[in-house]
Symmetry: C2
Subunit: 183 residues, 2 copies
């Protein structure tokens, strides 16, 4: 079974006008996605932002629940959070832990012209291969091109009965982890 890593990318992502931008950190993204990561056996949850002040906010939230409120289950989840300045830094951290490059998987609410992997196929790959898997979630209006070009595969958009799928990144991350590791 391969170890699973996730990254919440604040740069490079798209803004509302389709330009490459840096998105602001949302406190609840830390909590909600950490709790989903802990539930679904994720090894490490990277919060990726190049902005030092935002890294500081994330670190303060993490420290508060790990130290001041020690023993609370929010701390058990936030322990998985690693705050890094770039995608490359998160990749290096995984390579240091694993001794190999992970399979890098992107997510998007839209259909994009990139090599695809289905949820069932990725679930089977995680269960049957020892290669680690790193899944990227974009904040703002989604992962920007410089990152899309680094992906091995893209997961298809989450859909219900229709075509409307404006989920929060918190909800999308939880659903994808459940599809890959839910019992």
């Amino acid at each position: 079974m391969g170890n699973l890593y996730i990254g919440l990318i604040h740069y490079p992502v798209l803004n509302q006008r389709g330009e490459v931008a840096t998105a602001a950190l949302t406190g609840l993204d830390l909590h909600d996605i950490a709790r989903a990561a802990k539930t679904y056996g994720v090894e490490r949850y990277f919060v990726v932002t190049p902005v030092p002040a935002q890294q500081g906010i994330a670190a303060r939230i993490r420290r508060y629940w790990l130290e001041t409120k020690a023993g609370h289950n929010r701390g058990e989840a936030l322990e998985l959070v690693e705050i890094v300045g770039s995608y490359e830094a998160s990749l290096r951290s995984i390579e240091r832990r694993e001794g190999e490059r992970p399979l890098v998987i992107g997510t998007s609410a839209r259909r994009l012209d990139r090599p695809q992997i289905g949820y069932e196929a990725l679930r089977r790959q995680l269960e049957s291969s020892p290669q680690p898997v790193y899944i990227l979630f974009g904040t703002g209006w989604g992962l920007a091109k410089p990152l899309l070009e680094r992906l091995d595969y893209l997961l298809p958009p989450l859909l219900g009965p229709g075509e409307w799928n404006h989920l929060s990144v918190r909800a999308a991350a939880a659903i994808i982890l459940d599809r890959l590791r839910g019992k």
Copy 2:
């Protein structure tokens, strides 16, 4: 196919000490769960709180996105929100729309001694029967006994590879909707 309804219950729920209590409204519960509801074809999303001031906050958020920011996809989602004072009021609203009582389904992060229905079985029931289904999500520390006794069935806890499952109600609602209506 039966119509699907969901309710976010702020009373009666449990507090940290296991007492019956009223939980405070969380703004992001409105947004995130409405967006998941819209994605997965939910008919109506009931926000259930007996506190008039909290009903007012929910109504103000809904109005802001539907009127001041008309045309934004958040409004399309929040349009599904109906703010009511009690579980009974939400049930009456469903009965008025549907002309029959829905199957009432509870959710819990813990195993409880109530009649269970599995996710696959409920998915099949929704697809094959015209009876509406109403799923209740508890805020705070989960649905309290007076409501648990009103349920037809309880869905089992969401689990990953282990036993730790302290998901936010936002994440749990998104995952459950995906399990029941995801493509």
